[in-house]
């Protein structure tokens, strides 16, 4: 382990310089998401866009024909499948398909096995969407999208400064320190800041970028509803123990968080049951290639 914990070496600046080398988020997915939000668009246009991507087509057809829907007859045509699924399911499949290559990776410094980050991200996305609906937030799909990508910064850290993650983990453990504080002490930044930077490079909407930036900062996430929803979703999924990293419980929670979202303890328990059931279903259905 390094001795110079207290000497940030501006690693963050070097990481930012390297972020442009990350593979970009697939343009076809971004175009498809835009079509889904466009009231003047149509399923036919969406099918036309997606039909040239064999992996996405396969995933959509597999999801449509999964046991969850119990269809008497198999659907083999993309446009029929898209019509059957509807906007919410299509969005979820597109995002899950596009994110898997990034999220399905071991991250040794965070003590995450392959699939841990994937499972954690899917569960947090489901939790954010469930909470958004429960709180009558007007745009649950945005909560889903942001939450799915909330820990994308961990992947960049693993790629670019993987060796230093061990220092962060040991510092947080030995000094009983908030994990993002240890990240700042060692790197001069944290995985939430880096994640937000990546999403900005990928041209995600500013409210998603902000919520990803805020998701571990109790003073920041309390200031807007989407950030609060994503922070709470992450907290609940950590408590449920789904895809935990070494940083899992090493954070503070803002004591006003539930009031900010007008939620009671009983509401939370209801949401946890719904999240768990939906997550278990998703594991059967979203077992993507």
């Amino acid at each position: 382990m390094s001795d110079d914990y207290n000497a940030p070496d501006f690693t963050l600046e070097r990481i930012f310089e390297k972020l442009v080398n990350l593979p970009t988020f697939p343009k076809v997915i971004q175009k498809a998401l835009a079509l889904l939000k466009d009231p003047n668009s149509s399923i036919a246009k969406l099918a036309e866009l997606l039909r040239y991507d064999p992996a996405i087509t396969a995933n959509i057809l597999r999801f449509t024909n999964s046991a969850h829907f119990g269809l008497a007859q198999r659907i083999t045509d993309l446009e029929t499948a898209l019509t059957f699924l509807g906007q919410q399911h299509i969005t979820e499949i597109l995002l899950a398909s596009a994110s898997l290559p990034y999220l399905n990776t071991p991250i040794a410094g965070y003590r995450m096995e392959p699939r841990d980050l994937w499972r954690h991200s899917i569960a947090t996305a489901i939790a954010a969407e469930t909470l958004a609906k429960f709180c009558s937030y007007p745009d649950p799909p945005t909560a889903f999208t942001g939450a799915l990508l909330h820990d994308i910064g961990k992947i960049a850290l693993n790629i670019f400064v993987g060796g230093r993650l061990e220092d962060i983990f040991q510092m947080a453990r030995q000094e009983k320190m908030i994990f993002t504080e240890a990240e700042w002490r060692v790197l001069g930044g944290d995985h939430a800041v880096i994640g937000a930077e990546i999403l900005q490079l990928w041209e995600f909407p500013s409210d998603i970028v902000r919520a990803v930036r805020n998701h571990h900062d109790p003073d920041l996430y309390i200031q807007d509803t989407l950030s609060s929803l994503m922070a709470l979703a992450n907290i609940l999924v950590i408590q449920m123990g789904i895809g935990l990293g070494a940083d899992a419980f090493r954070y503070n929670i803002n004591f006003e968080l539930l009031d900010r979202l007008h939620l009671t303890r009983a509401d939370l328990h209801r949401c946890i049951v719904l999240i768990l059931m939906d997550f278990n279903r998703s594991q059967d259905m979203l077992n993507l290639d």
């Binding site: 003590r111 841990d116 453990r173 009983k176 908030i178 907290i235 950590i238 408590q239 449920m240 123990g241 789904i242 895809g243 935990l244 990293g245 070494a246 899992a248 419980f249 090493r250 954070y251 503070n252 929670i253 004591f255 968080l257 539930l258 009671t264 303890r265 009983a266 939370l268 328990h269 209801r270 946890i272 049951v273 719904l274 768990l276 059931m277 278990n280």
Partner: protein, 164 residues
Amino acid sequence: MQTFSIKNGEMIVSKEPGAVLEACSVGANLAVCIVDSKIPLAGLALVVLPQMPANMPNAFHEAQERLPALTAMSGLPLFFKRMLQEGVAKDRMKLWLVGASRFFSEPADLSLGAQTYTAVKKILNANKIKITAEHVGGQFKRCVRLVVGQDGVRIAFDDQEVIL
């Protein structure tokens, strides 16, 4: 030997000597582990909530059917019943509690681990069941493992391992 991986709200009881019961990434859930000290018999239940929320829509009934150990109030009595059916004797029973991790600071309404732990302890006390040992609280990502026919539970956390 067979390995049973127990997820949130599930319970497994096994009499197969050498079979492994494990729950990885326990989080704020509470793993209730039981072995019979004389015969090869062990069980593990991973409890998520203290009790089922009121005003349950159908989804909650479905949850309780699929996840029998989801709550302490309904899951634990069922777990004990299964253990008794398989032959555990109360005077030979060893019980460990593992999990209930917490954030550095968290409001009471969000202290899920503490809420579940309190509910489980209440049920154990009411039934005069003693806790052999426990490894609860803290900011740990824990994995718990027990082997049918062997005494003790093995807990992995923060690159360490302890046997209770």
